[in-house]
């Protein structure tokens, strides 16, 4: 025991010398001599070789410009730094500086600015540093996200630059109520995180809760938005995603309008939306651009896909292994003859096929798209055919597995699709050991879990648990737009009313008659 305690203590001591604490030794305020400034910045950046320091003279005042050459645009330096400094002999220096630069007195600010691609100007005799943004921007063009394509509607998608993403949102939601809140996180590597919401709708409690959760992250480096999601979500043990991931601008705009909050992060084209319910994962912008009857039909199919992909293989296993008498006489023969000569019990059969499909899927994602297609054909057609010919797997099992695979890819959200694919395995085991009773028990636990789950204080399975019949209008149904008079209650928006009676012309017409 003592040994372990010592070891723990040793670790603690070590932690105290960790780099995050070392920084406080450096003086934080800018000096008035160039030399000291240069040496401090050099020390901060550990003498990195892409830190360029060039000396120049502005009206006989000696100075230097400092920048990271890997982060700046040389032309911008010429335009915004050198031209104003060297070619305007008439105005006094302080005016020129004020017009073109931002001043900074602490090195923290300077460090952040340099990392973002700014150029820093230090002048002898000024206890200030002057910053101007000359960053090099190499961003990809705005394209439609590959995994969230729609047939109709906007084809804009987020990219890796936070500013551009916010610009896209502002352009879509043109309202002074759209608020952005920056929350830097990460103790070593700063990550820029932005909360976006409509100030007149969003519930303040949710904003406070979210800020609190993000601020309490104490981590050297929040690498990507997946980290952030796992750090702020309510239950990490649940298979279900509790924050909606999307790369679509219109989807985020739609959710903002229902009083939800979006989190965006520099370097990630994905926005996290919360608080969301289970049913948000089954909505797609396509539903709203098609006619409502068709939209409802497609929604219903998507929700059926959830049930099919979880229950179908389990149901098949239960029928074959336990309750063969459920099949009517006409079906007993075709099913019976196909499973008669199979050497494995149905569970093993199903597991082999399900795992094969998962392998094909994973291989298809990793390979370049041309070979990916080949894998699909080899995997899907050849294996499927050969495995039946070899008498290893029954044909009905192939049908079941294929149907399951297709329906698990119907979900418009990637995270939910993963959850559903994972969930069918416990159900298969339950069905193989207890038949229908096992499936029902699994189902009870699943529903109970959905009832217990909350996302930022809102019940996850709303509007079914707790039941709110009014809000079913936009869950597995998609009623006509003029019926959606109120916002869903699950995000607790400040204004529940969404619109006045639409189609007033229709009403007036009937009255005139």
């Amino acid at each position: 025991m003592k040994f372990i305690k010592k070891l723990l203590k040793y670790n603690k001591d070590k932690n105290e010398n960790s780099p995050s604490k070392k920084r406080e030794k450096i003086s934080n305020h800018a000096f008035s001599t160039i030399k000291e400034n240069i040496s401090t910045i050099n020390q901060i950046f550990s003498n990195t070789e892409d830190l360029v320091i060039k000396s120049l003279e502005i009206k006989t005042v000696p100075g230097v410009i400092i920048y990271l050459e890997t982060m700046v645009d040389k032309e911008k330096i010429q335009k915004y730094v050198l031209n104003p400094c060297l070619q305007s002999p008439l105005e006094p220096i302080s005016d020129m500086l004020g017009a073109n630069f931002q001043s900074a007195t602490v090195f923290n600010q300077v460090e952040a600015a340099l990392l973002e691609g700014s150029c820093v100007l230090s002048l002898d005799g000024y206890a200030k540093l002057f910053i101007v943004d000359v960053s090099l921007s190499k961003e990809r063009s705005i394209t439609e996200p590959e995994n969230e394509k729609v047939v109709q509607g906007s084809h804009d998608g987020f990219i890796e630059t936070l500013l551009t993403n916010l610009h896209l949102l502002r352009k879509t939601v043109q309202s002074p109520n759209l608020s952005v809140k920056y929350l830097p996180t990460g103790t070593q590597v700063k990550s820029k995180i932005a909360l976006v919401y409509l100030n007149n709708l969003v519930n303040e409690e949710i904003i406070h809760e979210c800020e609190y959760r993000i601020k309490s992250i104490s981590m050297d480096n929040v690498v990507n938005i997946g980290f952030l999601e796992e750090l702020i979500e309510d239950s990490t043990l649940s298979p279900f995603p509790q924050l909606l991931n999307t790369e679509r601008v219109d989807r985020v705009a739609g959710h903002l309008n229902e009083g939800r909050v979006a989190v965006l992060m520099e370097g990630s084209p994905t926005a996290l939306l919360f608080p969301v319910t289970f049913f948000a994962f089954y909505q797609s912008p396509d539903d709203y651009s098609s006619r409502w009857i068709i939209g409802t039909f497609i929604r219903a199919i998507r929700h059926a896909s959830f049930l099919i992909s979880i229950i179908l293989p389990a149901f098949y296993i239960a029928v074959i292994a336990f309750h063969f008498e459920v099949l009517p006489d006409e079906l007993v023969n075709p099913v019976g003859s196909s499973i008669n000569k199979i050497p494995f019990p149905p569970l093993i059969e199903a597991l082999i096929m399900e795992l094969t499909i998962e392998l094909i899927r994973e291989a298809g994602i990793r390979l370049p798209s041309r070979i990916g297609q080949t894998i699909g054909i080899v995997g899907g057609l050849v294996i499927g055919d050969a495995v039946v010919q070899a008498g290893l797997i029954s044909t009905t099992m192939i049908v079941v597995v294929a149907l399951t695979a297709i329906s698990s890819f119907c979900v418009p959200s990637h995270g939910m699709s993963d959850a559903v694919r994972l969930l069918r395995f416990p159900f298969m085991f339950l069905a193989a050991s207890f038949g229908f009773v096992g499936i029902v028990f699994g189902y009870i636990v699943l529903l109970a879990h959905l009832c217990k789950l909350e996302s930022f204080g809102t019940p996850y399975f709303a509007p079914f648990a707790p039941l709110r019949i009014k809000d079913i209008k936009d869950t597995f149904l998609r009623l006509p737009i003029w019926k959606l008079k109120t916002r869903p209650l699950d995000s607790h928006p400040k204004h529940i009313k969404q619109q006045d009676p639409l189609r007033g012309w229709n009403y007036n017409d009937t009255k005139r008659k």
Binding site: P328, L331, G435, V440, Y443, I444, A465, P466
Partner: protein, 367 residues
């Protein structure tokens, strides 16, 4: 005293009572009742519902006197701390035993109808695991689940109704043939299938509603269950031609449903049973929840969740004891006076007792 996240709505109270009441009894009810009151089993069921309603009025009266206290807090307050705690403990034991009996009967049905070769203890373990998971968190999550699964009763209703295509309404006559004494005696059998309404003793302070509305919710739940049960009894009475059939089949409803099949599936009774499982699990979960809450008050702890494993453990052992139908019958007979004592006599006594104390401590228990 009661935290915000534990509050439930009046609608949720309605559904909880329904789910707690409808349970294992539904399958054997037509058999049990018609053994005694023959053709008039359905009248017995109605009378049983009326009797339950009277008991509900007593329980409601007690709850209204102490609107912010559960039964476990009322008892020590009224009759002294030490004696009260002992009674609370006995309440917990009573709920455990009732739960075990229901679980035992449930396993018996599963054993005969679906899983003949699976050892009973595995099924009991599985059921208890599911129940514990269901009730280990807040009351609110339990309520949400109960509301969510209640619409499944419509399917049970539909399956039974479809069987009536072969029924003959004349089988019900002559009405009143078995005589009033037998009808009343039969209703005693039916009451045992309606147990579960005593959940309101515990739920009362958790509901956000006025006293009157709470009574309406519980009464309408009872009305719903009574009508549902009466329908089931009535359906089986008009389905089976001779009473002998009813006496010989311990689960008449299942035989009824087994008699027909659809184009795409046969053995509809298996689907009926699968949905029935959910109703039974909610009942057993309610008793386990009540029992573990009893232990919570007895030991003076903050959360009931820590008592769930040991509650489930005791239920597991007791549920294993009865080996066959006759054991279950005996078990049932022993428990009968306990039902009467814990659900009727003690609450009634407390209710009357509270009149003497009401004046003295009227300020104490206002919310």
């Amino acid at each position: 005293m009661i935290r915000k996240e534990n509050r439930i709505s009046n609608t949720q109270l309605f559904f909880i009572i329904i789910q707690a009441q409808i349970g294992v009894g539904i399958l054997s009810l037509p058999h049990d009742v018609s053994l005694i009151s023959k053709n008039d089993g359905w009248i017995s069921t109605l009378i049983a519902g009326a009797m339950v309603q009277v008991i509900i009025l007593v329980l409601w009266g007690l709850g209204r006197k102490f609107p912010s206290l559960t039964i476990y807090e009322i008892i020590p307050r009224l009759i002294g701390k030490r004696l009260g705690k002992i009674i609370v403990f006995f309440y917990a034991i009573y709920f455990i035993v009732t739960g075990s009996l229901v679980l035992s009967r449930f396993i018996q049905v599963i054993d005969t109808w679906i899983l003949q070769r699976t050892p009973n203890w595995i099924l009991i373990l599985l059921t208890l695991g599911v129940c514990v998971y269901l009730v280990k968190d807040t009351l609110r999550s339990i309520a949400r689940f109960y509301v969510l699964v209640t619409p499944l009763l419509i399917i049970l209703f539909g399956l039974v109704t479809y069987a009536l295509k072969d029924a003959n309404f004349l089988y019900i006559f002559p009405i009143g043939q078995s005589g009033i004494p037998n009808i009343v005696k039969g209703s005693k059998e039916a009451i045992f299938s309606m147990l579960g309404f005593e959940f309101m003793l515990f739920l009362y302070p958790y509901v956000k509603a006025t006293d009157g509305r709470k009574l309406v919710a519980v009464s309408s739940a009872n009305l719903f269950v009574t009508l549902f049960y009466t329908y089931m009894v009535f359906a089986s009475l008009i389905f089976f031609e001779t009473r002998q059939d009813l006496y010989l089949t311990p689960q008449p409803l299942l035989y009824m449903i087994k008699s027909y099949s659809f184009q795409i599936v046969e053995r509809i009774d298996l689907f009926f049973l699968s949905i029935w499982v959910i109703s039974v699990v909610t009942s057993i979960a309610s008793w386990i929840f009540l029992a573990s809450n009893g232990f919570k008050y007895f030991f003076g702890r903050a959360s009931h969740a820590r008592f769930l494993p040991c509650t489930a453990g005791i239920v597991f052992i007791i549920a294993l004891l009865p080996r066959n139908e006759t054991d279950l019958q005996k078990f049932n007979k022993i428990l009968e006076p306990a039902h009467l004592g814990f659900i009727v006599v003690i609450p009634l006594f407390l209710f009357l007792f509270s009149f003497f104390f009401a004046k003295k401590r009227s300020g104490d228990h206002s919310v």
